[in-house]
Symmetry: C2
Subunit: 120 residues, 2 copies
């Protein structure tokens, strides 16, 4: 049975991981989520296994071509998203979450629980 971790224990583990690896893994993840459209795009992608550019543009309200492209490129560079290009006419592209990306969902789930608890 899994015991809930204490605050003190977390700080202990976190401190150790920082001093060992040099960079903080938590900060690294948070920096992957920086940007206005990261969260909406990841959310839209979690709703479908495979998504195409045009579909994402519809499902993420307000995003421009430029920002959607930038966001997807960054997510791809961080290994959270996979991009597959089909050179037909008209050409199209299929986006999907990688395992690394899908495994963020326990993080998001903790965020969701926290958010529901402290929503005003």
């Amino acid at each position: 049975m899994e015991q809930p971790i204490t605050f003190e224990k977390y700080v202990e583990i976190a401190s150790a991981s920082v001093t060992e690896s040099g960079g903080c893994p938590v900060t690294a993840l948070i920096s992957m989520l920086q940007g206005k459209w990261k969260s909406p795009v990841l959310y839209a992608m979690s709703l479908n296994d495979i998504v195409r550019f045009g579909e994402l543009k519809k499902e993420v309200p307000g995003v421009t071509n430029t920002m959607l492209t930038t966001t997807l490129r960054e997510l791809e560079a961080d290994g959270l998203v996979h991009r597959e290009q089909f050179n037909e006419i008209p050409p199209h592209v299929e986006y999907s979450l990688t395992e690394k990306g899908k495994n963020l969902f326990p993080v998001f789930y903790e965020m969701l629980k926290w958010g529901l608890k402290y929503a005003e």
Copy 2:
């Protein structure tokens, strides 16, 4: 006994919470963590119960007066940090994490686990 939540179940709960409240709680939390110094400052604050401005400036390498002030003000506005001012000479200020702020640690712990798993 707590069962680990599945990806599909998470998406179901997340979708429901978005449509009910209008805004996504996960996005709201992520936006509280936007900014270069949020994570380092929160980390430094988690190491001590009470921290003073000058102490934070030492423990967060590279931060300027301006950015530290801005970051602390935003964290305070989001209810994650408490600020208490003492009007002595010289005046000083004590910063601490609120309950809301301390309860982020399960989120950070999930981030830490993910980060350690996918660190390159």
